[in-house]
């Protein structure tokens, strides 16, 4: 069942020239679905969310909840619980009063309300902070209050605008599990905005990747990760290498391309890719699907390490593979101690994991 529908919604902040903040967006979100808006800073995620919440009116297009047009419905009639990107906590209330506000509006009894407030504060690990003033909290604590305030009212729809951006990884993981649990239990349709791909991947039923106000791809996490529609999506989700390679053969779902100095390799491709032999295909290859090899091993792309970055779980190597290919990033869980910047190295691609993308 479709719960939320955005039909060619656009939002323009000024009448004059400037590009639209949200440009002809079409989305349908099912009831109980956990839907994520993902995209670079300034791409229009908040603007979209605020239109759904009713704080902006679309310049064009319609928004429907359960089939009913709510484009211009007052925000307080929409029963959405929103976590604002800037928190928007009530500074004149204590933490507990902030969280209880929505319950009071809903005339929940005092006892029930205080029970639920405590529960919500516990969910975000703020037990015992109920009587503090907002200004006495750290940034992350404030963000958690904002989250608790939205969760506690059990709205029919959750709108979460980067609700975890100021939390540490550990807490973020715990909290997102909590959010997912609550959301699943109640079947709450949720729209989640994040700039964190891992988070989007881990939580979402579906993801819409936006860029400059437009939706680039909508799909399940695996789809957007493994079968990115465009080079932008490939690069944006994880750090994909997008290589321009000459096509040596093509059928409906596979394209064979030539690797620089390493023979040919088959890559997956979306239907209707329209590539023919002789064309240049954009092929995305994820760092973790490129294995390190000796520079002189057979069938490898040869290059020179230009940068090494330790990120904890894996080390990212940037390898210069010469003029055509440019630079390629490789993720290696265990980098042999001897590899260093400047070293020559060989790279081996995994055929099943390549994917042809649109520019």
């Amino acid at each position: 069942m479709i719960d939320v529908e955005l039909e060619s919604v656009s939002k323009r902040f000024s009448r004059s020239g400037e590009a639209a903040a949200v440009d002809d967006v079409n989305l349908t979100i099912g009831a109980g679905e956990f839907f994520t808006l993902l995209g670079p800073s300034g791409c229009g995620k908040t603007t979209t969310l605020r239109m759904v919440a009713g704080f902006y009116f679309p310049t064009q297009g319609h928004i429907r909840f359960g089939g009913q047009d709510v484009t211009r419905l007052a925000p307080n009639k929409r029963d959405t619980g929103m976590v604002f990107q800037n928190y928007a906590l009530f500074p004149h209330m204590t933490v507990a009063q902030n969280v209880a506000y929505g319950l009071k509006v809903r005339r929940v009894s005092r006892a029930e309300s205080s029970r639920r407030v405590n529960e919500a504060l516990a969910q975000v690990h703020l037990d015992g902070y109920g009587s503090r003033r907002i200004e006495q909290l750290s940034g992350g604590q404030q963000q958690r209050v904002a989250l608790a305030r939205a969760l506690v009212i059990r709205p029919r729809m959750l709108l979460l605008d980067e609700p975890l951006s100021n939390l540490d990884a550990k807490l973020r993981e715990e909290t997102r599990t909590e959010i997912r649990r609550i959301q699943r239990d109640a079947g709450t349709t949720s729209i989640y905005v994040t700039h964190d791909q891992a988070e989007a991947m881990a939580m979402s039923d579906r993801i819409a990747v936006m860029q400059a106000g437009r939706v680039q791809q909508i799909g399940s996490p695996r789809e957007v990760y493994h079968q990115p529609a465009t080079a932008f999506v490939a690069r944006f989700i994880g750090r994909s290498n997008v290589l321009s390679l000459p096509v040596t053969a093509a059928d409906t779902t596979t394209v064979e391309v030539a690797l620089p100095g390493a023979g040919t390799i088959a890559s997956g491709a979306p239907e209707g890719h329209g590539l023919r032999t002789g064309d240049t295909a954009l092929v995305s290859a994820r760092p973790e699907h490129i294995a390190l090899a000796g520079p002189d091993d057979p069938g490898v792309i040869r290059g020179r390490v230009t940068a090494l970055e330790f990120t904890g779980m894996a080390t990212h190597l940037t390898v210069d593979i010469g003029a055509e290919g440019g630079e390629v990033t490789v993720a290696a869980v265990d980098v042999p101690g001897r590899v260093d910047v400047g070293d020559r190295i060989g790279l081996r691609l995994t055929a099943e994991r390549l994917w042809v993308v649109r520019p």
Binding site: N86, Y87, P91, E135, R149
Partner: protein, 584 residues
């Protein structure tokens, strides 16, 4: 930064380092506050203490105990005055906030004109202003008599008298305190807080009740204090509507009786009540924080979907403006009517411009206006400098005695104007160190000084209220970028306080132009203010010419309001943009 040459700093170096702490050091608040305290002490507190001293000079205790004995006039007056003040606060609050809501939350053609207009009642010249209310709402007023004719009743309908009349006058003349404070605060409010409340399901009324109004607390507190104290010290309205069991009437009567200590006792009691109210308000405000903790700056944009609201707002605003402007219109009516042509008629039967001709044909007709302008501007400038600094000190700096500083500023507002003037005369009739050894009485400077002392609280309170909404971390950011305390204060804090400061300055200016009760005691022949000029006409019952003078004053104030409202909006460009956003 160069490393210290010695790792074991001598005491002198340690001291130098302490001093180098600049605006951060523990002593900084005291250093900054010291000159302010000195100014307050010399020009405000110490002169006003004279009243208290006089009240306890002879049989002081028995004077004060009168307030606690049940039968006495003293107690009744105190209670009546308190009741009137509280009621005035409530009424002004309702009207002022409602007007702020209508005019700042909606945009419609002519809004800015109305905005400039609705402040005019605050600028009504005293006396003629009060009479205009009588001519409107009392038994002999246009409205009751008009209704009488309409319904064909025996006596005038809906005539205000007594306390009701006083409250009407208070509401009309003092609601701008609330209007201005509320609109400045509304403009400075973080819009996302309001959005959050809507999002949580609250309706418009609830959002106002639980979020906007509480967030306006600093502004409301500031306005309440001003209205409360003004009402408590108000004299003309109770006089005109014959409510003589009030503190101010008792002060006047006791002075006429020659019982100066008792008069001072009343005045001191007035001051004490005001201080008590001030402390109560400070406590109330201090319970919560009003500083938005939001990250970044949220867009100022709420789009009005409700078509009813779209139409209702302008209609309601225009209606309200008409009602509020009625007293001014009445003055105009008087100014343009022929002498003796308006007795039992509902409105005058004959019109002329003779009154204006009379004024203009006088050689020095405009001198009082220029005097008033000049003196008010001077005083306002002083109020801005000192008021803003004190507001900053009281709100932002941590030092012992902040409440005392607050009280020190407000005390001159809590006392009736006459008392303030008499105190100033006593203090400055001979030279003292605060007047640089000169006697200020009889010079030009005493009037601006009096205006400064009287209206400092207006700028102080308004600035203080707007400061409550400004995130201190902005100043920190500026300091972090290398700005000295003073620079950060000017560039950031004062700039952001500006709406509040302008509001305060406007009020101070308008009140300065209209000030009468103190002026009449200290003006000199070269500094005749317009209020005295008007009063001289009133005294000889030249109501027509007095009204004509009053109209000039009103026009003057209107022009100032009009320009200042542009200033406040940061020029027409910003105003236009804002309007565009609101209507979208």
């Amino acid at each position: 930064m160069t490393a210290a040459s010695s790792t074991v700093p001598s005491r002198r170096v340690a001291l130098a380092r302490r001093l180098a702490g600049g605006a951060n050091a523990a002593w900084f608040p005291y250093l900054m506050v010291a000159p302010l305290v000195l100014i307050l002490w010399g020009y405000v507190v110490q002169p006003m203490l004279a009243t208290f001293v006089e009240s306890v000079s002879e049989d002081g205790v028995s004077n004060y105990t009168q307030f606690f004995t049940s039968a006495g006039v003293a107690r009744t007056s105190l209670i009546t005055s308190l009741a009137i003040s509280v009621a005035s606060v409530v009424l002004c609050g309702v009207v002022g906030v409602a007007m702020a809501f209508l005019l700042k939350r909606f945009s419609f053609p002519g809004r800015r004109l109305i905005e400039a207009f609705i402040l005019v009642p605050a600028a009504l010249p005293p006396l003629i202003g009060a009479i205009s209310f009588q001519l409107l709402y009392s038994e002999i007023g246009i409205l009751p008599r008009g209704l009488q004719r309409l319904f064909g009743t025996e006596s005038p309908v809906l005539a205000f008298d007594g306390i009701a009349g006083v409250l009407v006058v208070h509401t009309f003349t003092m609601y701008p305190f609330f209007y201005l404070a509320a609109s400045a605060a509304l403009a400075g409010l973080d819009p996302s807080i309001e959005e959050a409340a809507y999002n949580l399901g609250a309706g418009r009324v609830r959002v106002w009740r639980t979020v906007l109004l509480p967030m306006l607390t600093p502004a409301m507190v500031s306005a309440s204090l001003l209205v409360f104290m003004t009402s408590l010290a108000s004299y003309t309205a109770p006089l005109l509507f014959g409510v003589d069991q009030t503190m101010t009437m008792q002060i006047y009567i006791n002075r006429t009786n020659g019982d100066l200590p008792m008069a001072s006792t009343y005045a001191s009691a007035l001051g004490l009540v005001s201080i008590a109210f001030l402390l109560l308000m400070r406590w109330y405000e201090g319970r919560r924080s009003y500083l938005s903790q939001s990250k970044g700056i949220s867009a100022r944009r709420r789009e009005i979907s409700n078509p009813v609201g779209r139409w209702l707002a302008p209609v309601a605003s225009v209606l309200a403006a008409i009602v509020l402007l009625a007293p001014v219109a009445t003055i105009a009516l008087v100014a343009f009517s022929e002498d003796g042509s308006w007795t039992t008629e509902i409105i005058p039967s004959a019109y002329s411009i003779d009154n204006f001709v009379t004024i203009v044909s006088e050689p020095k007709a405009f001198q009082p206006i220029l005097n008033s302008l000049q003196m008010s501007l001077l005083a306002t400038a002083g109020c801005i400098v000192i008021g803003v600094l004190i507001a900053y000190a009281v709100r932002r700096l941590r030092f012992v005695g902040r409440s005392l500083l607050d009280i020190g500023v407000m005390i001159a507002w809590a006392l009736p104007g006459t008392v303030v003037a008499i105190n100033l005369i006593s203090a400055f009739s001979t030279g003292n160190s605060f007047s640089f050894g000169q006697a200020l009485i009889g010079t030009f400077w005493i009037l601006p000084l009096a205006y400064f002392v009287r209206f400092l609280p207006l700028v102080f309170r308004a600035s203080s209220a707007s400061l409550a909404l400004i995130d201190p971390s902005l100043e920190e950011a500026a300091r972090n970028l290398g700005a000295s305390w003073f620079r950060a204060f000017l560039n950031i804090t004062v700039r952001l306080m500006l709406p509040g400061v302008i509001v305060g300055a406007l009020l101070a200016f308008v009140h300065g132009v209209g000030e009468f009760v103190a002026s009449v005691l200290i003006y000199t022949s070269s500094t005749v203010p317009i209020s005295v000029a008007i009063n001289n006409r009133m005294y000889s019952f030249e109501i027509g010419t007095a009204a004509a003078y009053g109209m000039l004053q009103v026009v003057l104030i209107f022009v100032v309001m009009w320009f200042s409202s542009r200033l406040e909006n940061g020029g027409g460009r910003a105003a236009a943009r804002q309007a565009e956003q609101w209507t979208n």
